[in-house]
């Protein structure tokens, strides 16, 4: 045989033999592997690529941080194991008020102020996993690194802007940068205007007030108009005013639309506003409105300034000694929310390792801390033993961790943790059934087989999913004008969405139970903005939905309040709420008819089109994500069918048509609704903030976040009964400013329902009377619901299969503790026994009910 042929044959044979021997080898297992080891094995769709506590942007980071980091205080079960409490972890004792030690201008603390300077005493046995001692200075140095102005770290804002804002933290991180305030009118409290004569021109002619530049954004009308997405430039383009010099003025705007005002610019803006108000120029306008004509521009203006340089010693964190740490904060904070804000290690990093990871890439600061085993030093109950990006991360017990010193018996039984990245759900399920995983998150497709399994645990989440609409008449009309009909010759209508009856009809025609069953079988029917897992009284663990105020919001919204009471349809509010399905097809049909009549009457549908029947209400349904989500594809079909069926027998029968948008991406899909590129989004909402529904309310009422910025919350007045008085203010003030601790003006409402001149200032921040906060929260929730542009449909929930050898501490889910977590989890078999058990069951376990 030819030599080459021989070689070729040899290679082929050896390759085949090689694969055969590999097969054989894999069958060999070490019988002693896993004796005395309890490895908690998980698989996830994705693993973290960075868990640098200063910069991480994905929640995947918690797969590492939850095990490798500690906190000053931590959640634990209460004595009866049916609720939570906050206990010490790295801290030796509960935080102490030391405000009196920092009285003075530097820290903004006046004599008598309380809980503005907080002392945390550290345990003396705190160590990083490499054995380095942790002292108070490590925390201070870590915060300095977090706030490093050159880094602009993603999480730096955690130390300002929220409840626990360190004094001067924002100034330190932003020093040297240019900044804009909120609206000028908001800056000075909305009811005040400054005198234009107080403006002083700097050397470049820019007008300044107290050293801050007066700035206009040509793309924003600020508080001047409810149309928060339009600006003066668009009005100019549309021909609403024609002031000489506008184009040159607009051309000087930066990429975000800001223009610093000089005297000429100011006159242009004043004249533009005057013309919008129907006068030739500001002088003519002033003849009617006086000084206000010269000041009105302040409603749409900003202040701009350069942040001063500031030394880190001015930032509100101090190491008093090795084991004493003081935090000086902007707003007083005490009780539960203080401890809750300290259930972290305040961005502690291992400073030498962190600094070694600093570098410049393409001339820009970057840091690779927390991206591999070698670039990270933890200080939690477990330490990383291996990490391969996008593949696997494993942990073992960290014997340097302080918590083991006084850990109770049968806690931290888990000796090792392994988390694999497995993107295929099928593979994850099969691995679980083969005993290779200890938990598996069930999907909709698995529910038929496993929902009644004794190993299945359901957990209700804290999010609500909505159908979101943006009934902006002007934008809908503009979009309608450029939309092609789906049936040739039809008039396209979208503006019917501005009618509340139409939106209510859309809401009542959704069979929410069927929707959830089809799309998210673990979820429930949503009846309000907030679900059952939202806590309104965190100190006592009271769920918001269990309060009378919150219950009344639901019964009011669904029109059942008058049907509750002795001898009525429902004896209690709970009974009434339990009866709500959110589905009222007959009512929806009536509302569709009513909406049609109103649309014709108001000319939204032309008389001609109404007479000929040649019109279609075309609704573009947005598709968040990248187009591969079964939820959004199936949901579109579900809603389309639901609404097409619902209009049968009404004046809109056959007139309601739907289109699905192109994929809108995962992060900025809301903007497509906000500018009416799509007419409706579903399966959207705000997550998190289970313990702080008060702050989350901002998402629903602030134009910065609203899905429906067309709803001007500054112009919608809301009455709230507080301490026996009915007080009136706008929804934005109640829902954002008051609940977040800013004092707002309210007016007393008399018995006839009219606002009087009597002003009452209200501050309902974290330290305010809980009853006042609750009353405001419930009132604002009701106001948001009644807009019918955030229609609650489903509540978030999840289900998981628990491995046969795993034992949870509590069967019931307890907020903050789940079912015991890694701390309390125990096992009926070690790894070796488990492997034998799985083999004895033929290698595949049966978890079906």
């Amino acid at each position: 045989m030819n030599n080459k042929w021989k070689k070729l044959t040899a290679v082929a044979v050896s390759a085949i033999m090689c694969s055969g021997s590999l097969v054989g080898l894999t069958a060999c297992d070490d019988p002693n592997a896993g004796v005395g080891k309890y490895t908690y094995r998980l698989a996830t769709n994705s693993l973290p690529t960075s868990w640098n506590i200063h910069t991480y942007q994905s929640n995947d980071a918690t797969y590492v941080l939850d095990y490798t980091e500690d906190s000053f205080y931590t959640f634990d079960y209460n004595d009866t194991k049916d609720g939570y409490q906050i206990v010490c972890s790295m801290a030796k004792e509960m935080p102490v008020d030391v405000s009196s030690s920092y009285v003075g201008e530097d820290w903004g603390i006046a004599e008598g102020d309380e809980w503005k300077a907080i002392r945390v005493s550290l345990k003396d046995n705190l160590y990083f996993e490499n054995g380095d001692h942790i002292t108070a200075k490590d925390f201070v140095d870590s915060i300095e690194l977090l706030l490093n102005p050159a880094a602009a770290n993603y999480r730096a804002d955690s130390l300002y802007g929220g409840q626990f804002s360190l004094v001067n933290a924002e100034k330190y991180v932003k020093q040297g940068g240019y900044n804009y305030t909120a609206m000028v009118s908001a800056e000075l409290n909305d009811w005040e205007y400054f005198d234009v004569a107080d403006l002083v021109a700097d050397e470049n002619g820019i007008l300044q007030l107290d050293g801050k530049d007066a700035v206009l954004n040509i793309n924003s009308l600020g508080n001047w108009s409810p149309d928060s997405t339009y600006g003066l430039d668009k009005y100019y383009s549309a021909g609403y005013f024609d002031v000489e010099g506008w184009e040159e003025f607009a051309a000087s705007a930066d990429k975000d639309g800001y223009v610093k005002l000089n005297a000429t610019g100011l006159k242009i803006v004043q004249d533009a506003i005057a013309q919008l108000q129907g006068y030739d120029n500001v002088e003519a306008y002033a003849e009617v409105r006086g000084d206000y004509a010269y000041q009105e521009w302040e409603e749409m203006a900003f202040f701009g300034y350069i942040w001063d340089e500031i030394d880190f010693s001015k930032v509100g964190v101090k190491a008093v000694d090795d084991y004493t740490l003081d935090f000086i904060i902007e707003k007083p904070l005490s009780g539960f929310y203080l401890k809750y804000n300290l259930t972290s290690a305040m961005y502690l990093v291992h400073v030498p390792t962190y600094k070694a990871c600093m570098s410049e890439s393409q001339g820009v600061y970057t840091n690779s801390y927390g991206t591999s085993k070698d670039t990270y030093v933890g200080f939690g109950p477990y330490k990383m033993s291996s990490y391969v990006a996008d593949s696997v991360v494993t942990f073992e017990k960290n014997d340097k961790w302080q918590g083991y010193a006084d850990a109770a018996e049968n806690t931290y039984t888990t000796t090792n943790i392994s988390i694999q990245q497995v993107t295929s759900e099928n593979t994850r399920l099969n691995m679980f059934l083969n005993g290779e995983l200890d938990s598996y998150g069930l999907l909709a497709a698995d529910m038929d087989e496993y929902q009644s399994s004794p190993y299945t645990y359901f957990t209700e989440g804290d999010s609500t999913w909505f159908v979101a609409l943006n009934p902006d008449a002007e934008k809908l009309a503009a979009m309608q004008a450029q939309t092609e009909p789906m049936t040739a010759g039809n008039e396209v209508n979208k503006t019917i969405l501005t009618l509340k009856d139409f939106r209510m009809a859309l809401s009542f025609s959704i069979d929410r139970a069927a929707y959830e069953l089809a799309l998210d079988p673990t979820g429930g029917v949503a009846k309000a903005l907030y679900g059952n897992m939202i806590i309104s009284d965190a100190e006592n663990g009271v769920a918001y939905r269990t309060t009378d105020e919150a219950k009344k919001v639901i019964t009011d919204f669904w029109g059942l309040t008058d049907s509750i009471g002795e001898g009525k349809e429902y004896e209690t509010m709970d009974e009434a709420i339990a009866s709500i399905t959110g589905y009222d097809l007959a009512g929806a049909k009536k509302l569709f008819d009513s909406a049609y009549d109103q649309a014709v009457e108001q000319g939204l549908i032309s008389a001609e089109a109404a007479a000929s029947g040649k019109f279609e209400v075309q609704i573009m349904i947005g598709q968040p994500g990248n187009g591969s989500s079964a939820y959004y594809n199936d949901g579109y079909e579900f809603l389309k069918k639901t609404w097409e069926e619902a209009v049968k027998g009404t004046k809109l029968e056959g007139k309601l048509v739907f289109k699905q948008s192109q994929p809108l991406g995962s992060t900025s899909f809301a903007s497509y609704l906000q500018n009416c590129t799509v007419d409706l989004l579903f399966g959207v909402g705000w997550t998190g903030s289970a313990l702080d529904p008060y702050s989350l309310m901002e998402a629903y009422v602030s134009p910065n976040y609203q899905y429906d910025p067309a709803w001007n919350t500054t112009q919608t007045m809301l009455d709230v009964e507080i301490n026996g008085q009915v007080l009136r203010s706008n929804v934005l003030y109640w829902g954002q400013y008051a609940l977040q601790g800013t004092e707002i003006p309210t007016f007393v409402v008399d018995a006839d329902g009219n606002a009087t001149d009597e002003m009452v200032k209200i501050n309902a921040g974290p330290n305010a009377d809980p009853a006042v906060r609750l009353a405001i929260l419930a009132a604002v929730e009701g106001a948001v619901l009644n807009q019918y542009d955030m229609i609650p449909v489903g509540t978030q929930a999840s289900a998981n299969l628990k491995g046969m050898r795993v034992q949870y501490y509590t069967e019931e889910y307890v907020f903050g503790m789940a079912r015991g977590g890694i701390k309390y989890m125990t096992y009926s078999m070690d790894d070796a026994e488990w492997n034998k058990f799985v083999k004895s069951n033929g290698g595949t376990l049966n978890y079906k009910g």
Partner: protein, 319 residues
């Protein structure tokens, strides 16, 4: 000399082509929407400050020259989205061995089996052996690899328990444990290649076996085996060898679905992720674009040159 000139000319064209494509890529990716979405409770000024430092607010042409300047210095930048803070080149190089490993073993397995089956089918043309091989080849060529993926994973991993369903990466891509755990993926990738090699080999060899010079060789007294191996195989390899070479070159682009299915942390999904990220991970996108464009262009040259090496009758650059 002609060959040398030819190579120089091709390299010159390569450089021009490379810069045109890379410039287009840069402009196109920068034209994609990249404004960060407003996030609840997030200080967007901080995010904008970081973007400002990265030069995202500057005109595209300035950003392009900045990119070129640093790229020439070997600084491809750090990832801002997918692997925050990490040097994109390092991440890529760390992941490449996994991709190379799985594809390399797949090719090593595919070549002898594929060529062998092709030879057998050609030699036994129109017999039941040829029919069986050809039918099998058609099936394996037309069925996508992820279908084998499901089957292999289900049968070998979940039913027979021969292999782990996911790769064991803890010991590295070329470790024994790593290779063993990669076997299901290697098999899945091999099926298509084996079928491809077999089909091509059969077609080429069949044609050569019926040529006049083979008849002459037989009439001069060579046995069928001698004629096939010494003459037919050599000529049949002329078009087959560049195909094999092409397979080797393509191994660095990874196999998105198979890598994902068997949790192999290779480069397969990097490119897609870089462009799908919101905002796109520019540095990753540009590095990978540059790398793959270069590899593709170089592969073209290498394959062309290889013809001349395999068959001295083919001369490059000669008129």
């Amino acid at each position: 000399m002609h060959l040398f000139k030819y190579i120089l000319k091709r390299l010159g064209l390569l450089i021009v082509t490379f810069f045109i494509i890379i410039s287009v890529c840069f402009v196109l990716v920068k034209l994609l929407p990249s404004q960060p979405a407003e996030m609840f409770g997030k200080d967007m000024a901080l995010i904008m400050a970081r973007r400002e430092k990265l030069g995202y607010g500057q005109p595209i042409i300035i950003q392009y020259f900045r990119f070129l300047r640093y790229a020439f210095e070997g600084d491809f930048g750090a990832s801002e989205v997918l692997y925050i803070g990490q040097d994109v080149w390092k991440v890529f190089v760390d992941k490449l061995p996994y991709t190379i490993s799985v594809n390399l073993f797949s090719i090593i397995l595919s070549i002898p089996i594929g060529l062998g089956l092709g030879v057998i089918a050609a030699v036994k043309k129109n017999t039941w052996i040829d029919h069986v091989i050809s039918t099998g080849v058609m099936i394996f060529v037309s069925v996508p690899s992820f279908v084998y993926g499901f089957l292999v994973q289900y049968l070998l991993c979940f039913k027979l328990h021969w292999f782990s369903p996911v790769m064991d990466t803890t010991a590295g891509p070329f470790s024994w444990a790593g290779i063993v755990s990669m076997m299901p993926a290697i098999l899945c990738l091999s099926f298509g290649s084996i079928a491809g090699f077999a089909r091509y080999t059969r077609a080429e060899l069949t044609e050569v076996l019926t040529s006049d010079y083979l008849l002459l060789a037989r009439t001069k007294g060579l046995t069928r085996q001698q004629a096939t191996i010494r003459h037919a195989m050599r000529n049949a390899m002329v078009p087959i060898f560049p195909m094999i070479l092409g397979e080797f070159v393509s191994i660095m682009s990874g196999s998105l679905i198979i890598e994902q299915m068997f949790s192999i942390p290779g480069v397969g999904k990097l490119y897609v992720n870089a462009i799908q990220a919101s905002p796109p991970d520019y540095n990753f996108f540009m590095l990978l674009s540059g790398f793959y464009i270069l590899i593709s262009l170089l592969a073209g040259i290498v394959v062309d040159i290889s013809y001349g090496i395999i068959d001295p009758r083919i001369r490059m650059g000669e008129k």
